[in-house]
Amino acid sequence: MRRDHCIAALTRHRTDQIVVAAYNAAFDLMRIQPHPLNYLSVGAMGLASSHALGLAMGRPDKQVIVLDGDGSLLMNLGSLVTIAEAAPRNLIHFVCENGTYEANGGHPIPGHGKISFAGAAKAAGIERVYEYSELANFESDIGGLLRAKGPVFATLKVEPGEPSPVDWDYIHGPDTRVNFKAALRQASSS
């Protein structure tokens, strides 16, 4: 299944959630659903899940969705343990597993085909863990995942889809963060 199709499916169910997206998932999200509560400035590779945990702890009234990458998560596997320990009810962590460092030349990640991210999440102590490789199954489940008590973790086994415009200046630019903060302040409790 394609990552952009998974993100499109997710956005059809999105209401007022914060979505934290890393790198190429961020570019897909920007193309598919520009939204004031898209959190795109994750900065250092690997930290998307940590930003998301901070947002989830700071705004327990808002659901926080992470669109992580597999190479990114490998840089911060300990965050699975941290998230399991903190146990935010409002955090859903998706990792888009394409087996490569897509933003850095498409080289294979270590352990590709061997590591189970869902297995790692389960072993870290996250109770609700899922894995999808068929879009129809993901589309069928996504509504339920968004209603489930967090933390929730799901691996999306994806392949490249339609290339999205790459705009690093937008992701890292100050206006992106200023606008997100203003939108979050205005967002009413759900």
Partner: protein, 185 residues
């Protein structure tokens, strides 16, 4: 010269004017810090982490690696929540890319309290024989991150001022603990 591990668990050999742990905690609370993100450091283990972990005025988040804390503090800052990352200087050095990108380039109020494990009581950090301690301030200078050295009780008021300034200016700030805080007078 006693080791830092020895100093951190005993007041007996710390100078009498050394900053009090209780003063640090009082300043942190008064500055509006609600979340404390920690990875244990023997410099602050008993004096700060133990009481903070059980203090109901704080939300305590344990991390597996220090740079996680930079991301968590960033997320909290967008929620208008004040946080403190409590780590050892080894963790600071391990988190340079996260601090450079998330705190400095994004201009976010990431406040970090750093135990200078291995710093000699009678030396400044820049003159320490410990390599890790010696390079902390030059690295912070190179990144443009403000820092404050906390050693004596008279330094305690700096804590609140520095935290308020970090959030007012939306810029990162570090506080360097040059001695293990005293647990009791």
């Amino acid at each position: 010269m006693p080791s830092w591990a020895e100093l951190s668990i005993s007041n007996a050999q710390t100078p009498a004017d050394t900053i009090m742990a209780a003063s640090i905690i009082t300043e942190i609370k008064a500055a509006g810090v609600e979340y404390v993100i920690t990875l244990p450091d023997i410099v602050t283990s008993k004096s700060l982490l133990t009481p903070i972990a059980t203090d109901r005025d704080f939300r305590h988040i344990k991390v597996c690696k220090e740079d996680e804390g930079v991301g968590i503090c960033a997320g909290l800052s967008f929620c208008d929540k004040r946080a403190l990352l409590l780590i050892q200087h080894t963790g600071l050095l391990d988190s340079i890319n996260a601090i450079k990108t998330v705190a400095v380039e994004y201009s976010l109020p990431i406040c970090i309290m750093v135990g200078l494990l291995g710093k000699e009581i009678d030396r400044t950090p820049n003159n320490s024989e410990n390599c890790g301690v010696r390079i902390v301030e030059p690295i912070l200078d190179a990144m443009g991150v403000k820092y404050h050295l906390l050693e004596t009780e008279s330094d305690a008021p700096l804590i609140g001022l520095a935290i308020h300034e970090a959030y007012r200016s939306s810029m990162p700030m570090t506080m360097l603990l040059g001695r293990p805080p005293r647990i009791s007078p």
